[in-house]
């Protein structure tokens, strides 16, 4: 894990270095009041990051070997049994892909009742392998919760999807209103 940790630390150091560069060199109209605090933060942060990076790079080389056969400790807590680190990584990527997928769906087709339906049905059927009955009930409960509380009661201005905007579809097509 040392190598990954070192890469992450280097990334953090790069963020601080970029922030310092912007505050010190590329300071478009920044006066001392605006760039003092960023400089005060980034300079010690860069020093600390450098120390951590050296520590990590000097770390025990055996650590990575151990990681390959590591059993994820958190996993058995769910009752799913012990799994290897590579399997845990694969499942992590899949979950991140679902989160990203839902985000992209919201961005492209809007935060609407049918985006939510699509996501819930696809996840429950394809990923969780649940039956149609449970999928239907859970999706219905979530939709009622979403529409009643967030759309009708709180009137949150949910974003319209890019695709629907391009198609010029009216809002009423995809945002149900109370019938009264």
């Amino acid at each position: 894990m040392n190598r990954l940790d070192a890469i992450f630390t280097a990334g953090v150091a790069l963020i601080f270095a970029s922030a310092l560069f912007v505050a010190k060199v590329y300071k478009e109209g920044w006066v001392i009041e605006a760039n003092l605090f960023p400089i005060v933060i980034t300079v010690p942060a860069l020093i600390l990051a450098a120390i951590l990076l050296v520590k990590l790079l000097r770390g025990k080389p055996g650590a990575e070997k151990e990681e390959k056969v590591e059993v994820v400790e958190g996993a058995p807590a769910g009752g799913g049994g012990a799994i290897t680190a590579s399997e845990a990584r694969r499942r992590t990527y899949i979950t991140i892909a679902w989160i990203m997928g839902f985000f992209l769906a919201i961005w492209l087709i809007g935060f609407t009742w049918w985006t939510i339906t699509l996501f819930l049905v696809l996840y429950l059927k394809l990923q969780a392998g649940e039956g149609w009955k449970l999928t239907g009930i859970l999706t219905f409960i979530c939709l009622v919760f979403f529409i009643y509380l967030f759309v009708w009661t709180l009137h949150l201005p949910f974003p319209e999807g890019l695709i629907l905007e391009w198609l010029g579809l009216p809002e009423a097509v995809y945002l149900p209103r109370p019938f009264w």
Binding site: L4, D5, F8, T9, I15, F16, A19, V22, W30, V31, E33, A34, N35, F37, P38, I41, T42, P44, A45, L48, A49, I51, L52, V72, G74, A75, P76, A77, G78, G79, G80, R91, T92, I94, T95, I96, W98, I99, M100, F102, F103, I106, W107, F111, I116, F119, L120, Y123, L124, Q127, A128, L134, L138, C142, F146, L149, L154, L156, F158, P159
Partner: protein, 499 residues
């Protein structure tokens, strides 16, 4: 006003709160607060603002029973989702996740919820009575805290980062500094210059806290749950109960509960520090004062008691400057100040004089609302805790929907969802690589305030602000907070070598 008259007013305040229609409106407010507290992203301040128009026709005591009844409960129930799912119901309930959620994973959800709610009740009662006791002589205390003292208090808060590190102090400090840097995004408070915004309108106002907290804490927990493919509570369903054990824990650790309640009251009492700070400072105190600081983050009940107590006691504390001077202690109190104006009341000497009954009714509302909520919640907590036995496959998509809804509710901008995703990835990476996440949140919370108070201090006093008596006292605490964990570590090493 004589002591006798004050006592009469104190009792009169209780009677008024328990009378109709104040009591009925308080129950309605509590119901709204209960739901809002459970929903991620919807804050107490937002709900107060939404409910403000309804008080126009109410009497002052009824109006405050309604508003404060709601606000008091939001802080209490926010802990429930933090413990069960690792999703903070409130920005101010994020610290409860650190040990509350690991307890739920160990099958001790009932115990964690019992501890969170009962410590919240203890905190609320202590905070409320501190408010009542402070009313007669609060003025000199508030006036003794200027910008230099506020700045040093924030530095003290940042210093607690070292305690929250959970192993690597170097990583903890770096995470804290990263949080401070993130807080720099947006318009700078002095000159109005846009920093690190990349010309993106969403960033002009800075990064909101809620999407950041949801991303850093909830997304990694969801990923963890999806990876395990089981239920949150895993193999230990037999221990799901234990609500009364949580209540007993509060009594067993009564010293910690009282200390954190007082800490929360004090932080709430300082205008501008806000509730999100109180719970982190209390958590840091619990870690530092524990004999086993290395076990925090793995499901220590003290890690639930401390933020729970501080979270609610700060409400009483933050009412003090609001009522006594019209200086709001938090965003929610600023909105409550609007209620004063709507009702034709002027915060200040009148509130501890001719309107003292109204002030005491606020104290009683905080106490009564929390007692009723906790008593009702304790009856159903074992049932609520059973949610942790539901299969992960069913919970994960619902939680993903909730984090996006909660994140979006913060600023109603698509940028909030981008923040949730980006902070989520960062949170997953930090969790996998053992980087502590709480210091980063603390940095985000305190960054803007620290810069502001430092600027005012240096402009007003120059470097001499460091010589002010209260500043020196706080500095001594800061040095102690840095050295204490180092000294403890050394002592442990020496012991290990000896054995």
């Amino acid at each position: 006003m004589s002591d006798f008259l004050l006592f009469d007013a104190f009792i009169e305040g209780l009677i008024q709160v328990l009378s109709f229609p104040a009591f009925g409106f308080m129950l309605v407010g509590m119901l709204i607060g209960f739901v809002v507290g459970l929903l991620p992203g919807l804050g107490g301040a937002t709900t107060l603002a939404l409910m403000l128009p309804f008080i126009y026709t109410m009497e002052p005591i009824t109006a405050f029973a309604f508003l404060l009844g709601m606000h008091a409960v939001v802080a209490t129930t926010g802990d429930i989702t933090s413990v069960l799912f690792g999703v903070p119901g409130e920005g101010t309930a994020a610290a409860t996740i650190l040990d509350g959620h690991p307890m739920a994973k160990k099958g001790e959800a009932g115990r964690a919820l019992g501890a969170a709610l009962f410590s919240s009740l203890a905190g609320a009662v202590i905070g409320a009575f501190f408010l009542a006791a402070a009313i007669p002589f609060v003025r000199p205390l508030v006036l003794s805290f200027g910008s230099p003292e506020m700045f040093m208090l924030i530095v003290l808060g940042v210093t607690f980062i070292s305690a929250l590190g959970g192993g690597s102090m170097l990583k903890a400090f770096l995470a804290g500094l990263l949080g401070l840097l993130i807080a720099m995004v947006g318009q700078d408070p002095q000159m109005g210059i846009y920093r690190y915004t990349f010309g993106w309108l969403y960033l002009f106002d800075g990064l909101p806290l809620i999407p950041a907290v949801i991303g850093l804490f909830a997304v990694p927990e969801i990923v963890d749950l999806a990876v395990s493919r089981g239920a949150i509570s895993g193999d230990a369903p037999g221990k799901l109960g234990g609500v009364w054990q949580g209540v007993k824990d509060t009594v067993i650790h009564w010293g910690l509960t009282i200390r954190c309640s007082l800490l929360g009251t004090f932080i709430g009492f300082i205008p501008g520090l806000g509730g999100a700070v109180a719970q982190w400072v209390a958590y840091g105190h619990a870690v530092q004062s524990s004999k086993h600081p290395e076990l925090f983050g793995t499901g220590m009940v003290e890690g639930v008691l401390a933020p729970g107590a501080a979270n609610n006691s700060k409400e009483g504390g933050s009412l003090i400057p609001t009522v006594a001077f019209g200086v709001p202690g938090s965003a929610a109190m600023a909105i409550l100040l609007g209620a004063f104006l709507i009702l034709g009341l002027t915060p200040g000497p009148d509130m501890v004089g001719k309107h003292v009954v109204v002030t005491f009714s606020m104290v009683w509302t905080l106490v009564v609302a929390n007692v009723i909520t906790v008593a009702l919640a304790l009856l159903f907590l074992n049932q609520i805790a059973r949610i942790t036995q539901i299969r992960g496959g069913i919970l994960v998509p619902v939680l993903i929907l909730l984090i996006f809804l909660g994140g979006f509710a913060a600023k109603n901008n698509i940028g909030d969802l981008v923040s949730v995703v980006l902070f989520g990835f960062l949170g997953v990476a930090m969790m996998k690589l053992n980087w502590p996440r709480p210091p980063m949140v603390l940095g985000i919370v305190l960054g803007g305030l620290a810069e502001n108070y430092l600027f005012i201090s240096t402009q007003r006093y120059g470097a001499t602000f460091l010589g002010r008596p209260i500043v020196i006292i706080i500095m001594v605490f800061i040095v102690g907070a840095i050295l204490w964990p180092m000294w403890q570590e050394r002592r442990k090493k020496a012991k290990r070598q000896l054995s």
